[in-house]
């Protein structure tokens, strides 16, 4: 457990906490970006270069920007007067704490069985490409289909209804 890991983990968790705690919605989206960036750094720390860059490209370059656009299109940047938390926030908090307790207990309980430091695997982009095109070609095609469907679906859902079409 190096110092770098603690720093990056701290950054990620701080970003995530800020994303769910801050009042201003745009600030939340920006904090979310920090969490995404921290996560990408964690991927790099785990020697998963490709996944890390894909994380930055997809999450920071696309998802964060989408979130920001949605916030501005729904006028969400104005803080509502009657609080930002839901009526039954306490129940939500208790559930989340419970989930964390269970997960943490599971991880710590099995900590001894977990493998120790192993040699860093060297994964080239070529290997990933070969795997995508041979062993994982079916999932790849399904994801392609899913993305196309999502593209069309998102366009249809968000499209303005034409005037006089009611």
């Amino acid at each position: 457990m190096s110092l770098v890991f603690y720093a990056i983990a701290g950054l990620t968790l701080a970003g995530a906490l800020a994303a769910v705690l801050l009042k201003n919605t745009v600030h939340c989206a920006l904090a979310l970006t920090v969490a995404f960036a921290g996560q990408a750094l964690l991927f790099l720390e785990l020697d998963a270069q490709f996944a890390g860059f894909a994380q930055i490209l997809v999450y920071i370059g696309a998802v964060a920007v989408l979130v920001v656009f949605a916030i501005l299109l729904t006028r969400g940047s104005e803080t509502p007067k009657d609080g930002v938390y839901s009526r039954n926030w306490l129940a939500g908090l208790v559930i989340a704490a419970g989930v964390f307790a269970v997960l943490g207990w599971a991880v710590l309980g099995s900590a001894r069985a977990l493998p120790h430091e192993t040699a860093a695997p060297t994964v080239t982009v070529l290997q990933i490409g070969n795997a995508l095109m041979s062993r994982y070609v079916l999932p790849l095609e399904i994801v392609a289909l899913l993305l196309t469907a999502a593209l069309i679906g998102a366009v249809i859902v968000a499209m303005h209804e034409k005037e006089g079409h009611k």
Partner: protein
């Protein structure tokens, strides 16, 4: 504590934070943000298990994470499209006010 346990704990914490956000916030977009965080936590788990697992050369965990990233992008696009459509219809993104099933 082994490195893997550290990553798993971070992922668990991230997941819980995302869950808390999704359950306690009013704004639909922030609920989506919470869900994104939970997905990210799952990805972190996948990558960590891939890295410290017995067969990293098989690329299974990594592939799973890459596919999951792609699916998350689709999920975000559709989800935010829905939120925008709801806002257009009901003029609010406050989930506490969306308590009717009638249009």
């Amino acid at each position: 504590m082994t490195p893997l346990a550290g990553y798993l704990l971070v992922a668990a914490l991230l997941f819980s934070i995302g869950l808390a956000g999704a359950l306690t916030r009013r704004n639909a977009i922030l609920v989506l943000i919470g869900i994104e965080l939970m997905l990210n936590a799952a990805n972190l788990n996948l990558i960590a298990f891939w890295r410290y697992g017995p067969h990293p050369e098989a690329l299974t965990g990594m592939m799973f994470a890459i596919f999951s990233i792609a699916v998350a992008a689709a999920e975000a696009a559709v989800g935010l499209g829905l939120v925008i459509q709801i806002h257009r219809h009901a003029h609010t993104t406050d989930l506490d006010q969306m308590n009717r099933m009638k249009g």
